[in-house]
């Protein structure tokens, strides 16, 4: 079963669909045209570039290059996560990077070695694609979870101090916030898992099926990837909290305000 290729001309025809949102935006004055054009352009250019890039990445399939690319993906995820936390990158770069790397790398290795049993563990097709799936999905969870963790402690500052004065260790005082933020981070993933296959066919499965693989294989991969996503999300949220704690609190157990963007006073 070969996938029907889309010619360049046909692809251009897809863009005609955009006439619908443009038309709607004009009628209802939604003001959507500029951001729409901007986002569509970015998406197209980025995908074209990554398409070319992946073509060569798969062609060379060199361990060092593959790992280097995974590293770049992790770094981009870290930067975009920290922006989502509203924190200063210089303060939390190292702990967030470590957390993301550990969570992503161990799970990919497990999948490649134990589950898929690849002969070549660092195969670009698996390393880069799985890495992207894990990072992309755990990124959302991390932004929600970590931002909530620090926001709640900031909001609850008096309660937090009270708990410390009641004799709580730093860990005991932070535990309720950790629980809450992990639950929050996992909620969308759990919800989408619970309806998967019925409400929505996940992107990966659609891609694999269109790519010519049988649904049975696609489903097995999808199950594997979902379990890996839940695991990497929970692991990276917990790790990020544990690792950023060291730099985000003073030795007295107080939250440092200077780690947040827009808070230059010490």
């Amino acid at each position: 079963m070969e996938t029907v290729n889309i010619s360049i001309f046909s692809l251009v025809l897809t863009f005609l669909l955009l006439a619908v949102p443009v038309f709607l935006s004009l009628i209802f004055n939604i003001g959507l045209i500029k951001p729409l054009v901007n986002s569509v352009a970015r998406m197209s250019i980025q995908l074209i570039l990554i398409g070319i890039f992946l073509k060569y990445l798969f062609l060379w399939n060199n361990t060092l290059v593959n790992l280097l690319w995974l590293l770049v993906m992790i770094l981009v995820a870290v930067f975009s996560a920290v922006r989502g936390f509203s924190m200063k990158i210089s303060k939390v770069l190292v702990p967030v990077f470590l957390s993301f790397s550990i969570a992503t790398f161990i799970i990919i290795l497990y999948l490649n070695i134990v589950v898929i049993r690849l002969d070549y563990v660092f195969d670009a097709r698996y390393l880069v694609v799985l890495g992207g799936m894990l990072l992309g999905n755990s990124l959302r969870g991390n932004i929600v979870g970590i931002a909530a963790f620090y926001k709640n402690i900031k909001k609850d500052s008096k309660k937090f101090l009270c708990v410390l004065s009641l004799g709580a260790s730093h860990y005991e005082a932070l535990l309720p916030y950790l629980r809450e933020s992990v639950q929050l981070a996992l909620k969308p993933t759990l919800a989408s898992m619970a309806t998967m296959g019925i409400v929505a066919l996940p992107g990966m499965m659609t891609g694999v099926i269109l790519g010519g693989t049988s649904p049975e294989v696609a489903i097995k991969y999808q199950i594997m990837i979902m379990i890996a996503i839940v695991t990497s999300t929970i692991a990276s949220v917990v790790l990020t909290i544990l690792m950023t704690m060291r730099v985000c609190f003073t030795k007295y157990g107080m939250l440092k305000t200077e780690i947040f963007v827009g808070n230059s006073s010490s």
């Binding site: 609850d156 008096k158 309660k159 101090l161 009270c162 708990v163 410390l164 004065s165 009641l166 004799g167 709580a168 260790s169 730093h170 005991e172 309720p176 003073t250 030795k251 007295y252 157990g253 107080m254 006073s265």
Partner: protein, 212 residues
Amino acid sequence: MIKLVNIDLAYNGVAVFENFSLEIKAGAKAVILGKSGLGKSSLFSLILGFTTPNNGMVFFDGSPVDKKSVWGIRKKIAYVDQDVSIADGNVSSWLDFVFHLKANGFAGFDRKKVKDFLDFFELDVNVLGKDTSELSGGEKQRLAIIVSILLERKVFFLDEVTSSLDKHLKRKVINYFIERNDWTIVAISHDPGWLDNPHVRVFDLEVGKWRQ
């Protein structure tokens, strides 16, 4: 017991204390008096290590408050803050949380004792089943006071803890604290019930001196 020596403290460039000193002896019953913004609550924050002074030293029980000692010091002080910041949720689970903290060395809270104190401070036992958000200001204050007593600590920092109580209950709470000779009480209040009590010494923050 508590000693602040030549403290300078400023928040965002605004000075709260300049070369401020204060000593409170063990067993003392001290009331801190002063207008808002004079740094009454900051006094507590300094000793509990929630704030660190720009200059000067804070001592508790003879040892300086620093990043190491502060964790032990917090376990010796029963602190009830002005807003009675107790967690959202069920009152019983709050008590469970507090009395399961390792440092306090209790294995959960003693129902019998809690009930006796609820009785004494004229709270209905059914507050235990309520959500903390359903409690009135006065109920919250009494609950926080009961928790502070049950922690079996000897030093009490009480920040306006009787403000929502009626006269009769105020007297009851104040007397309960003042009658314990070995307890060191530092209370922030402008209530005559505290200020006019003969066993209390009043520190006037405005002039930085004990009242004679």
